[in-house]
């Protein structure tokens, strides 16, 4: 009781920190910033295209911001204006922000004009952030690096991009990944749709862990409406998130086992994933696209049977996954295959804007479950799994450790589940929402999954999915050179690139 009262009166240290950053931004960049907003634990700064260079230099060089990572750049049209959305983050200061760059173009500008301006702004960004080149038009690379072309669907599970390789004997000299095959305009797809429609199909952006996009959208609405979500709901959400994390990581391990040729491990892992999926199905009624999270709550409460099933399942899961890990990694042949393949150092991973287990495998401690007050993870006891060398072996090990930590969190969530009634869910049609921008992020199994939305009168104007897999693709392009052709499949699979996320 006292704790709840305290939380209600005082802001968390993270919120205070974000407010401080907001003030600093206002102080240092007052001549350049058109508008600055604090949306939850994210910041949104609107600037002009002409000020982009100065703003980037300031954000990069000023130690109070120390922004050195560019996560993504995307173009969208907002209220008859063309804008660029630049996602930036700082690992040392532990915060992220979005730059909304208003382009000096009329609403009905031609595509060529937009592309020209887009390219010029990318070239400006390149001065400060090396990763910006990934978001520019790169057709010339495609023509250069075509000794070997591996088209989509030729490699199991990697059916969302074409791979162009230039090789010297069996060593790769240059690599280019074309994700054009997977690109569908999500902005147009969800334009002028109501939220329930979006919620029911948003899980397509992450087919291996469909809960996270739903959670992301609902969190942003809750932040907008300043809703106090019941603790029981938060616990159920955490339980499901971790179950999906386990399922996704097991899917990852199965792919690695398949590529290595460990058929037994492959089949065993899929059996355990099936166990996790059955529990998910019991709780949500669905396996891949749960459609379970609602604004301010969840679809169904957990009854005694479901809690009992969860307890039994995680106990078996823990034992079985331990066995699978021993089978897979105690084998010297397999360890030798994974070791020193596709090594990434911490700096390269940060430069490419990679998040999630791929970043943690390089030794960078960055997990927004701990760093921000996401759901109620602060109540849970768990550690962030870290690797050291950033090779394929570390990526597999980190995921195994994350599975154990997730099982630990599920166990705590099940045991400490508060006895509380889930309140009535919010009906959006009762509310008149003015034009609003929303951002929210969650730690999905592949990294930090972020959604930027614009909404007006219960109709969604824009949805931009800022997914971690795009950065993993960029990282793959960086690490494939100087590795052997035989390892291509393994390296790509070890980065856990999700085809659903590349759609956006």
């Amino acid at each position: 009781m006292a704790k709840e009262l305290y939380d209600g009166i005082y802001s968390s240290h993270k919120t205070v920190f974000i407010e401080k950053i907001e003030k600093n931004l206002g102080f240092y960049l007052k001549d350049h910033i058109l508008e600055i907003k604090k949306l939850g634990q994210e910041l949104l700064c609107a600037i002009r295209l002409s000020d982009l260079d100065d703003v980037c230099q300031e954000l990069n060089k000023n130690p109070e911001f120390d922004i050195n990572i560019l996560n993504s750049v995307s173009h969208y049209k907002s209220r008859n204006k063309h804008c660029l959305l630049i996602d930036l983050s700082s690992v040392s200061n532990n915060f992220s922000m979005l730059l909304k760059v208003v382009m000096p173009l009329p609403g009905d500008a031609e595509t060529s004009q937009i592309m020209q301006l887009f390219e010029s702004s990318i070239s400006v960004l390149k001065k400060t952030f090396e990763a910006a080149e990934f978001f520019s038009e790169r057709k010339n690379l495609q023509e250069d690096s075509s000794d070997i072309i591996i088209q989509a669907q030729q490699i199991d599970g990697l059916d969302c991009f074409d791979l162009y390789l230039s090789t010297e004997e069996d060593m790769i000299k240059k690599a280019f990944i074309d994700t054009g095959i997977a690109r569908v305009s999500s902005k147009e797809l969800h334009k002028n749709t109501v939220l329930p429609d979006v919620l029911s199909c948003i899980s397509r952006y992450d087919h291996s862990a469909g809960l996270f996009p739903e959670l992301c959208i609902c969190l942003s609405f809750e932040e907008l409406m300043q809703l106090k979500v019941p603790r029981r709901v938060q616990y159920i959400r955490m339980l499901l998130s971790e179950l999906y994390r386990v399922s996704s990581h097991l899917y990852f391990v199965s792919r690695i086992a398949k590529i290595i040729g460990a058929e037994l491990v492959y089949n065993l892992v899929l059996l355990e994933r099936e166990r996790a999926l059955r529990l998910i199905e019991l709780i949500t009624g669905s396996r891949i696209s749960p459609n379970f999270i609602r604004i301010g709550g969840v679809k169904n409460d957990l009854n005694a049977d479901k809690i009992k099933a969860a307890r039994e399942t995680i106990e078996i899961l823990y034992r079985k996954v331990r066995n699978i890990e021993a089978l897979l990694l105690d084998n010297s042949v397999i360890s030798a295959k994974l070791k020193n393949r596709g090594s990434v150092d911490r700096e390269t991973a940060l430069l490419c804007g990679v998040t999630g287990p791929n970043l943690r495998a390089c030794g960078a401690r960055y997990d927004i479950r701990k760093n921000r007050n996401l759901l109620l993870y602060k109540d849970m006891s768990f550690i962030i799994a870290l690797g050291k060398y950033g090779d394929c072996l570390d990526r597999v090990l980190v995921r195994f450790r994350e599975i154990y930590q997730s099982i630990k969190i599920i166990d705590q969530a099940v045991n400490d589940l508060p006895e509380e009634h889930i309140k009535k869910l919010i009906n959006l049609s009762d509310l008149a929402i003015p034009f609003t921008e929303m951002i929210s992020s969650v730690e999905c199994p592949h990294g930090v999954f972020k959604i930027f939305m614009e909404i007006q009168d219960e109709l969604i104007q824009n949805i931009i999915v800022l997914s971690p897999s795009k950065n993993s693709v960029y990282l793959a392009e960086r690490i494939l050179p100087d590795s052997r052709f035989e390892d291509v499949e393994l390296i790509l699979a070890s980065l856990d690139i999700n085809s659903g996320e590349l759609i956006s």
Binding site: I148, G261, E263, L264, L271, N331, V333, K337, R484, E486
Partner: protein, 311 residues
């Protein structure tokens, strides 16, 4: 002439039966170890499955290349010089172990030529690497054979088996046995015999069609596998020598299937070996040194016993 014809029929009947049993067990055990249902779904009907596969392959249209035909015939020629028992051998001559080695090398060479028929550059590259690795994995086997020849003081396989009437060579040559088995396991892994697709067809099957050629290739592969197993049984496990009251021919069959299942389980317990750098390091840092040490020890033993009469 009639005797030779009878022997040929006997040998190929034995080979055919063994191919049938081995393919049945291979599928059954592979399915079990990979947690698939496999032939369980067909129950007793599973016994007829290899026949059904043969008819299926035969009924599909496929153009056979010259190399495939040559490979098929050579894989059977190799059995003309390998003895199955004291009397069951088609061509008798004193240096048959050299002929066996030459036949095997020709067989491996034919596999390379056959791989050239693929129109895919990368697959050809991959195949040729595999085959070259197979040649290098044959080096330790050659050293082991040389050691056995030194202690038996003969180049005839029948005499080598006869020299083991008291003690099997595995007792005198444990290091050699380890090296030989490792070499054979590696060669079988490279051939991909226990996988769903055989080596010759593994990567081209879906692209270039499967039919009678697949049957031919599969038979050739089984022939290679049997050759490697029989070589181990003859050199180290005393071939058809009787074991107490058990008949020699029965013992030969038992030893053959023991080695077959041993190789099968080792194969299933280890992952796919397509990393040539790893294979190279295993071969040159482990298998070849062991076989060389074994050969040198045997040589020293041979010199001390036969030249200086010290042992």
């Amino acid at each position: 002439m009639l005797i030779i014809f009878k022997k040929v029929i006997y040998i190929y009947l034995i080979l055919g039966l063994n191919i049938y049993f081995c393919s049945y067990f291979l599928s059954k055990i592979s399915a079990r170890t990979e947690l698939r249902r496999g032939y369980v779904a067909a129950r007793a009907g599973g016994f007829g499955r290899p026949f059904a596969s043969i008819f299926k392959y035969m009924s599909k249209e496929h153009r056979l290349s010259v190399w495939e035909m040559l490979l098929f015939f050579f894989s059977f020629f190799i059995w003309t010089v390998i003895p199955f028992s004291q009397s069951l051998i088609i061509i008798k001559f004193d240096f048959d172990i050299i002929a066996v080695i030459l036949f095997y090398l020709v067989l491996v060479f034919l596999i390379i030529i056959n791989a050239c028929s693929s129109s895919y550059g990368f697959i050809y590259n991959n195949f040729s690497r595999k085959i070259l690795m197979m040649f290098t994995f044959f080096i330790p086997l050659l050293f082991c054979i040389a050691s056995i020849v030194l202690i038996s003081r003969t180049l005839n396989l029948k005499e080598i088996v006869g020299s083991q009437y008291q003690y099997w060579n595995i007792i005198f040559q444990p290091l050699g046995f380890i090296a030989a088995v490792t070499s054979v396991v590696m060669q079988l892994k490279m051939l991909g015999l226990t996988g769903k697709n055989p080596i010759l067809y593994s990567e081209t099957a879906e692209k270039e069609g499967a039919g009678f050629g697949r049957l031919v290739n599969r038979t050739a592969e089984y022939s290679i596998m049997f050759f490697l197993i029989v070589i181990i049984v003859l050199l180290y496990l005393a071939g058809w020598e009787r074991f107490f009251l058990i008949n020699g021919n029965v013992m030969f069959g038992i030893k053959f299937y023991v080695v077959f299942f041993l190789l099968l389980f080792i194969d299933k317990a280890t992952p796919k070996l397509n990393d040539f750098y790893y294979l190279k390091s295993v071969n040159f840092k482990f298998v070849i040194p062991i076989s060389v040490i074994n050969f040198l020890l045997t040589m020293v033993f041979f010199i001390l016993r036969n030249i200086y009469n010290l042992i």
